[in-house]
């Protein structure tokens, strides 16, 4: 591999305050406790953030409740214009927000700049347009909002997950209290400033930062009408238990263990690019990552040698370097989990391989890794690793591929690589997954619904279908 000169994006476009409070009722205010958020690429403290306790969550829900009456009574065309404003401000501040996201999350600037931020703006733009067209959406002639939505989002796509939650909620006339992830609170706090710039009425959007407990207070708050959660299947189960009997509406977008199926007639080079994108995009911190490669036996050798060659060209390092393909693992806890499951992979007999790869001394890093000789019984074939680790299995017939692909409690996404359209569509029909990509992977669009079957959760985000989760 030839060397690239470093091409670092300047971080001077982001100005961070020494501390940030909670955004409640249109104002930033302090909380009793605080915690620090770090740059996972350097372990440097970025700033200090408020830790919302039960009384803070109370205040936020009360503010959302107060705002709900007038917000939901506004004509849809007026709500639309607020959301269009937000979309525009995000477009104008997208470079700043992209750098911020890479600092707090560790993802390559190339991804935050070219994927996250454009999708965030587009998502607000798309749902803005629905606000005055709800009667055309197919959910009855007079669909009504639910009330106050409590929303808890993960750390892998902080601002994008915020957009997926807030845009449809506001378009449909709900108000929200949103809790960003503990390790990535900053873009949500900058979004609060975007809301202020848009003159969004106070209380329509409230941001409470904190850890798991803050999320639990919010989800269990008696005056919340709707809970939306993206995160682990384990926490999703707890939330489903806690809302049982409360009448709250619930949508869950949880874990995945997607099969990426490569048939013998697939264009190998394209498939290799898709496999790399499927598992190494965003350090593999993607719930719909193609973490199980199912390759037809007759082309396995050829495909794997091509894949290894391609992996050797991946650049791991400084997230703010525009050449970087794989950035930092988001937290020490996540790194520990990836390390542990990878060790189990070797112990259970799978063969581990990574390209030679220099990793920085400070920060959290994990080299792109594949395991071959994996069987369906191996833990690395069953459990979500949520890191840049691919498990490779083989199959002989389409029926066997479908059988193996569906042999998981998850059902979020899947990939199919083949030159034969009829085979793609037949396999897609049989896959128990909410999103199926054919000859592509990890494609997202605000118009396209996303969400899982089985233990990957329920409800859809995005598209016309995404409105349903916020409408009575």
């Amino acid at each position: 591999m030839f060397e690239y000169a470093p091409a670092p994006e300047s971080r001077s476009i982001v100005s961070l305050a020494p501390s940030y409070g909670l955004f409640i009722d249109g104002e930033f205010g302090e909380a009793k406790d605080t915690f620090k958020t770090i740059n996972p690429a350097t372990e440097e403290v970025l700033t200090e953030v408020a830790l919302a306790g039960p009384e803070d969550v109370d205040r936020a829900v009360a503010a959302a409740r107060r705002a709900f009456e007038s917000w939901s009574a506004r004509p849809g065309s007026e709500r639309a214009k607020y959301l269009f404003r937000i979309a525009r401000i995000i477009q104008e501040r997208s470079r700043e927000l992209a750098v911020l996201e890479s600092l707090d999350n560790g993802k390559p600037i190339k991804e935050s700049r070219d994927v996250d931020l454009p999708l965030v703006a587009a998502h607000f733009f798309y749902y803005a347009g629905w606000a005055d067209k709800l009667k055309y959406a197919g959910f009855g002639s007079d669909p009504r909002p639910l009330g106050v939505a409590g929303q808890v989002i993960p750390w892998n796509f902080p601002l994008l997950m915020l957009a997926w939650k807030i845009a449809p909620a506001l378009a449909t006339g709900n108000t929200v209290v949103l809790k960003p992830a503990e390790t990535t609170p900053l873009s949500a706090l900058f979004f609060a400033d975007v809301c202020r710039q848009a003159d969004l009425p106070p209380g329509v959007v409230n941001i409470v930062t904190g850890a798991g407990d803050t999320g639990r207070y919010l989800v269990e708050h008696p005056d919340v009408n709707k809970v939306a959660f993206t995160g682990s299947t384990e926490v999703g189960r707890q939330i489903a238990r806690s809302v049982a009997g409360t009448g709250k509406r619930l949508s869950l977008e949880l874990g995945g263990k997607a099969a990426n199926i490569v048939f013998d007639d697939a264009p190998i080079d394209q498939a290799v690019e898709g496999i790399v994108n499927g598992i190494f995009f965003n350090q593999g911190h993607v719930c719909c990552a193609g973490s199980r490669l199912l390759v037809q036996e007759s082309v396995a050798e050829e495909l794997l040698s091509s894949l290894r060659r391609r992996m050797a060209t991946l650049r791991v390092g400084d997230p703010l370097d525009k050449n970087t393909d794989i950035g930092a693992i988001n937290s020490r806890a996540q790194l520990d989990k990836i390390v542990e499951l990878s060790e189990i992979g070797s112990e259970e007999g799978a063969e581990r391989w990574s390209p030679p790869c220099d990793l920085p001394d400070r920060g959290f890093w994990f080299a792109p890794t594949i395991f071959t000789g994996v069987t369906q019984a191996h833990r690395i074939a069953r459990e979500e690793i949520f890191g840049p680790v691919l498990s490779v299995l083989t199959f002989r017939t389409p029926a066997e591929a479908v059988e193996k692909a569906n042999n998981t409690p998850y059902g979020l996404s899947a990939g199919i690589w083949s030159d034969k359209g009829s085979q793609i569509l037949a396999v897609a029909d049989k896959l128990r997954a909410g999103v199926v990509w054919a000859n592509t992977f990890n494609k997202f669009d605000p118009t396209s619904p996303f969400g899982g079957y089985k233990e990957s959760g329920y409800g859809r985000e995005g598209g016309r279908h995404g409105l349903e989760a916020y409408l009575a």
């Binding site: 733009f125 798309y126 347009g129 629905w130 085979q423 037949a426 396999v427």
Partner: protein, 274 residues
């Protein structure tokens, strides 16, 4: 005599010309007519034909742009209308109407990436086939616009949002050409909207009989006999015709009919099987 000792500055007046292919040409006929003291271009048959050529040339690329992109462009039009509010008011358009015009562009901007989700669908055919129906623009639309600015926008926007291009005959020349200036500064590609000022009765027959026009919107034709004649002429190439409806209230929710009337539904079949 002005009170000040310096002479009053003489205003620079605007010349109202046609809007064709993203440019502002005079009528090739050299004709103008007097409207509120301005000599405005009086479009001819040749201008209409030139406009159809421009609309046809622009259509594939406009239709090929992503729906998201077309939505962004329409939203930009709304921003530019809002910015020219004072100018429209000076032309006698009420503030409320300018606001309605802005909001109408915003409404249609939002439809760009939703109309296919409302007007298209997957079809559960009784066989092993993938089968979807999705709308596509019909092509070049000839429009005789109603006289008000809101009426004009209410016939242009639903046509272009889905990827059609239009040749519009407008009877309120100053406001129409000011709208053209909005379009020219809103990233609308040249040729997507072409505005001819003049007489609907004179120009519409040439659009109705033109072989390269796919649809005809007669919203601004008040003479019922003329409308029938135009519809008859349009039958030559089986143009889709939107007949004039009397007493339309353009301030009301426009619904989706104005868009779907100018869409073709394409159904794609593909077998499923190993």
């Amino acid at each position: 005599m002005p009170k000040s000792s310096t002479p009053t500055r003489l205003a620079v007046r605007k010349t109202y010309k046609l809007y064709v292919g993203g440019k502002f040409p005079r009528s090739e006929s050299g004709r103008t007519y007097l409207v509120d003291g301005d000599n405005v271009a009086l479009a001819s048959r040749k201008d209409a034909r030139d406009a159809v050529v421009a609309a046809r040339a622009a259509q594939p690329k406009w239709a090929g742009a992503t729906a998201y992109n077309r939505g962004q462009v329409l939203y930009r039009i709304a921003e530019m209308v809002e910015a020219r509010r004072a100018e429209f008011k000076a032309l006698g358009v009420s503030g409320a109407e300018v606001d309605a015009v802005t909001d109408r562009w915003v409404w249609y901007a939002g439809w760009s990436d939703k109309i296919a989700q409302v007007a298209g669908n997957a079809n559960p055919v009784a066989g092993p086939f993938f089968n979807i129906s999705a709308p596509e623009p019909t092509g070049v639309v000839g429009v005789v616009a109603p006289p008000s600015l809101l009426g004009l926008v209410s016939v242009i926007a639903p046509a272009v949002v889905t990827g059609n291009t239009v040749v519009v005959v407008a009877s309120n020349p100053q406001a129409a050409i000011t709208l053209a200036e909005v379009l020219a500064t809103s990233d609308v590609p040249g040729g997507v909207v072409n505005i001819l000022t003049g007489s609907g009765a004179e120009i519409a027959p040439w659009l109705a009989s033109h072989d390269d026009v796919n649809a005809l919107d007669l919203a601004g034709i008040e003479d019922a006999d003329l409308a029938t004649e135009l519809e008859r002429a349009a039958a030559g190439t089986l143009k889709r015709v939107l007949r004039p409806v009397s007493g339309v209230d353009y301030t009301e929710d426009p619904g989706t009919g104005a868009m779907t009337a100018l869409l073709e539904i394409k159904t794609v079949w593909h077998p499923k099987g190993f």
